[in-house]
Symmetry: C2
């Protein structure tokens, strides 16, 4: 079992200016290829701190993954420090210098001395190309053949390097046998309920399979990882296990791809050439935001009426005054009218509506904070559902929006609400 | 200068299941009271790993802040490990057991043996009360009078403990002199431009003042921290420095409180008893979402028309067909009509509108990806502005929404656009 330490270098992390999301991403990716992360460490931009941390890490692990400390202003310290640690020197990488000149020329800028420093690299390290920025990565080996990989701290530069260069090199040179992953996503129930549903199946998994539960607000991602010398057997077994798992969690599964709920719903609408609008009260436009966060969503999303005040519900969405008066703004009758009328007003095939008490105040005994009514209107009529959430406003807006999208998904697939 | 290490214990962090936001929060709070964080470390729920990490940390620092590893199922390992490390034993805390029994009874549950374990605490540690959960915190001192503080990993339990118990104890017993903070927030320019504007002032700050730049999308928070034995002098000097800083950055400053832009705008609307609506194309409802993320926003926010398709711009917002045909949906004329018409339709005092190319595709030479037109309508007419952003869709939606809110803020204050 190969072990790794994930290390971040940067004063900005230690004063809390920047949140270290790289460590979590690296941990997910490394665990996915079967490498165990045994420690995460963050150290300042200081030579001695870096050398101490690297020395200590090599006592524990086979791989050290370093992010950060390679910007043009901080570059010298990390690169010089690693040169000193690995007893080597910096040389000019002519090819890299040409690339950097082009990189700056394309942006209408000229290369300054700080940037030329970025074309210097340690003599005895393997170079990791950076297609998205100016600081290349470095792959060192110590005398015990343990590996240190140094990458920029900018997340999209680091991720590109990992996916394009580092992970392929590790899987080819160190793991020696193929690895497959498959991620399924569920909505509407917790880890423990899913674990109950799939307990027997999980117990019976072949020993070379691993299952990870990755929970988020309202959602749980289930990631299957397997590694075996025989690729054909591995592929067949993965297909079989995914099929079995899919059946066991069909009530909660929304996609067998690793994508957000709004992407799944968008793809369904696109495949049916259907359009959608939303009429949002308590979710305040967040469903519209989620739908439009997907590139190309203009092909199926026409727009929204955010009807925060009752005046807008009545005048723009034509919810009858007497319905709001007798049943309340947070009621089945109101959300049904909202969904049907925005569908008509925006001339769409489907519509989602919400009205609820997001909190933290404003609840009553009958309709406590966290109560939300949701309706979905479609070509065959309108369906609605009441959901009870907690007391946290931000979470209620987020979770209520996901429920709205999920109910539309169910209607699109003719599944029961 | 006191030094600290922030340590997290938990396998869930090392497989990437959970993002360690506690470390960033602790780093901000500790830096704010003048304690330097020199390392952050994450280790698994394993006795040897914990003891190694604690021993190494005490070589570097005066304070170790540990989060995590205190849940009812993992409780034994951390508590037993710390007992072993500090050469003490567990005793039953009768008072705590009574509290736990009440805690569960109030929730209609009975206490099980795992929970009784949570009433056990090390004999020679100072107990830190947990008002929000079942696992108390522990404050240990080693023979060299260095301190280890162990807290739960649940963020709101840990934060409550820090604010109510730990920080007051540290400031009283270790820092011995008052500390003041003041945070100002800016929008619309970067760290380096602000640094240029305030360079001379920053140079001339009294030696007991520290300034931190905390940047985020489009925003920079400036946090002043100062500590001095004489509270009166400290308070006067802070007021003076904040006044000077406020003048220097008045072009970018949006609040001298530490609050989001949508909270500042909301408070301004409330003070003027004015209402607002939005008409959003490329921001897709995100401005409405930001406004409604503030509790009580129904007092000034009436709603929104998200007009993602041109059909909605024409039919619902009454943007003349010929304007869209001749000038385009992304144009000054279109956003002005959108803002004026939603203001009329929703009967509000103010309105914000947006239309742009969020990306990643859809740009042209004349209107590249990242182009956004924004208009704000008010009692005295309508103003508009074109803004050029980058290529990243999610960032453009976020940044474009903030620009919209900021332009409304400027109109409310009669500041130039």
């Amino acid at each position: 079992m190969l072990k790794a330490e994930v290390m971040a270098i940067g004063d900005e992390l230690l004063i809390g200016q920047v949140l270290n999301t790289n460590a979590q991403w690296l941990a997910q990716e490394l665990n996915a290829i079967g490498i165990t992360v045994v420690q995460m460490t963050t150290v300042p931009d200081q030579k001695l701190a870096i050398i101490d941390a690297v020395s200590a890490a090599f006592e524990r692990v086979d791989f050290i993954f370093i992010t950060g400390g390679l910007g043009p202003t901080k570059d010298d310290i990390t690169k010089h420090t690693l040169c000193e640690y690995f007893e080597t020197e910096l040389i000019l990488d002519e090819k890299r210098l040409e690339q950097l000149k082009r990189f700056f020329e394309e942006r209408g800028l000229s290369v300054n001395p700080l940037n030329i420093g970025q074309a210097m690299r340690p003599k005895n390290c393997h170079n990791i190309e950076n297609l998205k920025g100016t600081a290349n990565g470095m792959w060192f080996e110590n005398k015990a053949k343990k590996v240190l990989i140094s990458m920029p701290g900018v997340p999209y530069e680091m991720k590109e390097m990992m996916i394009k260069s580092v992970i392929p090199k590790i899987t080819t040179e160190y793991l020696g046998q193929p690895i497959l992953h498959h991620t399924l996503r569920t909505f509407g129930t917790g880890e423990s309920v899913i674990a109950e549903h799939i307990g027997d199946w999980e117990e019976a998994l072949p020993p070379y399979f691993k299952l990870a539960y990755l929970p988020n607000v309202g959602q749980v991602r289930l990631r299957l990882t397997a590694s075996h010398p025989n690729l054909k057997q591995l592929t067949n077994e993965m297909t079989l296990q995914v099929t079995q798992l899919t059946k066991l969690i069909s009530n909660f599964l929304y996609t067998d791809k690793d994508e957000e709920l709004e992407a799944t719903v968008g793809a369904l609408l696109l495949s049916k050439q259907a359009s959608v609008a939303t009429a949002e009260s308590c979710t305040g436009g967040y469903i519209a935001h989620k739908l439009t966060s997907i590139p190309g969503s203009s092909a199926y999303f026409k727009g929204s009426v955010v009807a925060y005040s009752n005046q807008i519900k009545e005048q723009v969405l034509q919810v009858p005054k007497e319905v709001i008066k007798s049943k309340g703004a947070v009621s089945e009758e109101t959300v049904k009218a909202m969904a049907q009328n925005v569908k008509k007003l925006y001339q769409t095939d489907y519509a989602i509506s919400t009205s609820g008490v997001a909190g933290p105040d404003g609840g009553s005994q009958e309709k406590p904070v966290g109560t939300i009514w949701i309706a979905v209107a479609g070509p065959n009529g309108v369906l609605s559902k009441r959901i009870l959430m907690g007391k946290d406003r931000s979470r209620n807006i987020h979770l209520g929006s996901l429920h709205g999208l999920n109910l539309l998904r169910k209607m699109l697939l003719n599944e029961p609400f």
